[in-house]
């Protein structure tokens, strides 16, 4: 499909897409722009080349019609001396009307056929050999990822292996969310009482960002998604470490005691301990993740202390309550949390 597209157009779009990223990069930050024109997975690539065709058709129409309008504005503007003289009155012409009806009809037919074919390609039922199953559950305002065949549960940061077809079952615990990582796939809504499906097959290892795309309440803005596409070896290593139960060192015993004797356990799970709450993210391997609060802060000791002390300071409206512990006990609690690797 891309072959039919003028290369120059592709270049222009890419330049536009890179512009914002480039400007920010000048400020020496690591910039991750989730641009749909920088695809890294099969469905995103198919959408990208399909989009090029659609953009080419629309750009051509824009140039023709816009050109006619510009010509009319320049050529037929009233000039001095025109006052009082009326131009010839043309009431219409069926031939002309027919012509500018038939051409759009043809364009629509072509566009509709190409669209149908792409939809059939992407919304497919059959799954290739060796596909990986993941259940993604949307919560206000975080993501839960469960790998049913691997027995892993984690939050907000998804790991998938490169080159392997991955099928997500999308479910919601509360309201409608939408799973959107533009470089890997188009978005699919996450609807309560339904299971939607989304697939991706990543081509390049790396970190791809995205976020919830359906307004879901106060903290819709911080329901971020991070997808790590790992090499086969890295993924296997990650799976093995995630499958282990929490190893709790004796040194963090006091922190663990605080954790297990407060309401923390009502919402959080730490596998291998008595904490079996399901309402909040699984913390068994908390420190294997790079961010907390669905991307609102980096996952380090300072942020964890602040998070446990006043969650709604970092993330206003968050459903996790402040635990009202003295600072010394919070330090002990965070000692325990940072030991969960």
């Amino acid at each position: 499909m891309t072959g039919a597209t003028p290369r120059i157009l592709v270049a222009v779009i890419a330049a536009i897409a890179a512009f914002g990223a480039g400007a920010a990069r000048a400020a020496e930050k690591v910039v991750r722009t989730p641009s749909m024109f920088d695809p890294a997975s099969t469905p995103a690539e198919a959408i990208d080349s399909y989009t090029m065709l659609v953009v080419a058709i629309c750009a051509a129409i824009f140039l023709v019609v816009g050109g006619l309008l510009a010509f009319a504005v320049v050529r037929f503007r009233a000039r001095p001396g025109d006052e009082g003289r009326e131009p010839p009155q043309i009431y219409g012409s069926n031939q002309i009307e027919l012509a500018w009806t038939v051409i759009p009809v043809l364009i629509v037919v072509i566009l509709a056929l190409v669209t149908a074919r792409t939809i059939l390609d992407l919304q497919k039922d059959e799954r290739p050999e060796g596909w990986l199953a993941i259940t993604a559950t949307g919560h206000q305002w975080w993501w839960e990822f469960h790998y049913p065949t691997l027995g892993i549960t984690t939050a907000n940061e998804l790991h998938i292996p490169v080159g392997q077809a991955t099928f997500l079952d999308l479910e919601s615990q509360d309201v409608i969310h939408s799973f959107w990582v533009p470089q890997l796939s188009g978005k699919t809504d996450v609807v309560p009482n339904r299971t939607n499906h989304l697939w991706m097959e990543a081509r390049e290892p790396g970190l791809y960002v995205g976020q919830c795309a359906e307004f879901c309440g106060t903290q819709h803005a911080y329901m971020l998604l991070r997808v790590f596409v790992d090499t086969k070896e890295d993924f296997e290593r990650w799976v093995a470490s995630q499958q282990e139960q929490a190893a709790v060192a004796a040194a963090v015993g006091p922190g663990r005691e605080i954790f297990e004797n407060t309401a923390c356990v009502n919402c959080h799970t730490v596998r291998g301990t008595g904490a079996r709450g399901r309402f909040g993210p699984d913390l068994t391997h908390l420190m294997s993740r790079t961010t907390i609060g669905a991307g609102v802060a980096p996952n380090d000791r300072a942020s964890l202390v602040e998070w446990v002390t006043r969650p709604d300071h970092l993330k206003p409206g968050v459903l996790m309550p402040a635990m009202q512990l003295e600072p010394a006990r919070i330090e002990l609690l965070v000692d325990y949390l940072v030991s969960l690797r």
């Binding site: 009233a78 629509v108 669209t115 309201v175 533009p182 188009g186 903290q219 206003p316």
Partner: protein, 555 residues
Amino acid sequence: MASIPLADTEPRRRFRSDVLHDWVTTVDHKKLGILYIASGIVFFVIGGLEATAMRIQLAVPENDFVSPEVFNRLFTMHGTTMVFLVGMPIITGFGNYLIPLMIGARDMAFPRLNAWGFWMFLFGGLLLYFSYLGSTGLYGAGSAPDVGWFAYTPLAGKAFSRGNATDYWILGIVVSGFGSLSGAVNMIATALTMRCEGMSLGRMPLFVWMMVIVSFMILVALPPLTAAQVMLLFDRFLGAHFFDTQAGGDAVLWQHFFWFFGHPEVYILMIPGFAYASEIIPVFSRKVIFGYSVMVGATVAIGFVSLSVWAHHMFAVGMGRGLNIWFATATMIVGIPTGMKLFNWLATMYGGRIRFRVPMLFCTAFLAQFLVAGLTGIMLAAVPFDWQVTDSYFVVAHFHFVLIGGLVCTIFGAIYYWFPKMSGRMLDERLGRWHFWLFVIGFNVTFLTMHGQGLLGMPRRIYTYPADRGWEIWNLVTSLGVVLQIAGVLFFVYAVIKALRSGEPAGDDPWDAWTLEWSTSSPPPDYNFDEAPVVRSRRPLWDLKHPDDPDWKYE
């Protein structure tokens, strides 16, 4: 012998309270039309200020100008205001004012229903805004609705939207909807039964045709919204479970109901814009509209097809392949009659002697911007592309191109065009040009760039965004455009005030136009025409001005 003046003919001093009483009790279609338009403009300013606050918040990443709760209320109120309290009353207002004048009638068919409709609309709007004070009841601090203007369930259900804010949203829209419905009934009845002698349906001005079609669409599309909202009220108060997913209700059902209203609504708002353009472009091009009957047919076609495209708002909810293909195709088909209209306006301009006064400037900008809006609309109908950009800023840019680039620009054009008729005064041409250039440039700065954020992965309705996404520069430019738009609107407000105080008198027919409203005085007398007009063609004043070459010879 000097005549003895009768007491009655003495000019009586009018107190402010008399004037107020006049406006509050009026059943005159012209006064009601002006009331509709003026209240729409007031709400437009309010909705614009809400948008400004949002753009300040989003100008830089991780900003804390407003809290997330406030931001969510801002976009909910902005959307609801602009659609139901700005778009709807202004189109109803122009319809009210102009339909009787254009068809040579003395008033609308049901003058008192007309007044009732206006006050229902206004009280609906006030009810919605009262939520800021009273929504949690008399003892709590109020808060406006924060569930988005399409209030998706289950977020709008009792479990996730506690308090009464969402109820104010429901009731405010239901009440103001009665205004739109009665207005629609009235416009249809007026146009069908009260045309002057000689004005067959085929001689009705395109404006009237399009308003009739819009009115039918309102009658079909609005009741389903009201019904769905009542169902939501049942869910919230009576323990019904239509949309309550926790009790087995269906979240997507609401979306079908809402968009079955919501998509025709877009055309309900946009076709009146077409109607203004179809009157203004011929007059300023000095040519008769090209393809009158095709324009009527295309509008009817849009009306019908727009009823079967609603689920193109829902390509990401997980519909089957068949439905996705159906709604994609139907949506693309709407582009055909819409394109025909665009071509007919262009053909009207071709060979003309175009006078670029302010109304025509706005209509020209409308043509260019609506072309962009139409093409991004086709792109959004292209389902796989839509999977990427739906619910992103690309969609926001698209529908603002429709509703500002299309509708608001034609409304400004219509105000500059018909203000002289309504007030008897001209709006200042120089101020109008400042208004036009500032507003149109500002609009394009804001909304052309906004496509960019969407393509780069920025979802809509987020109160802030991380600093590492490469969206900063785009958002900053988008926000800067707002300054120009505000400056433009200030010029407009100043122009209106100046015209009302010391505007140049307009005369009956300042634009050398052709439809019947220009044959009576400016402003028209209470019952519009001293004598019921008789017409022989679509352009009665052209016939009058060119007795040697009248239209009725060619139609």
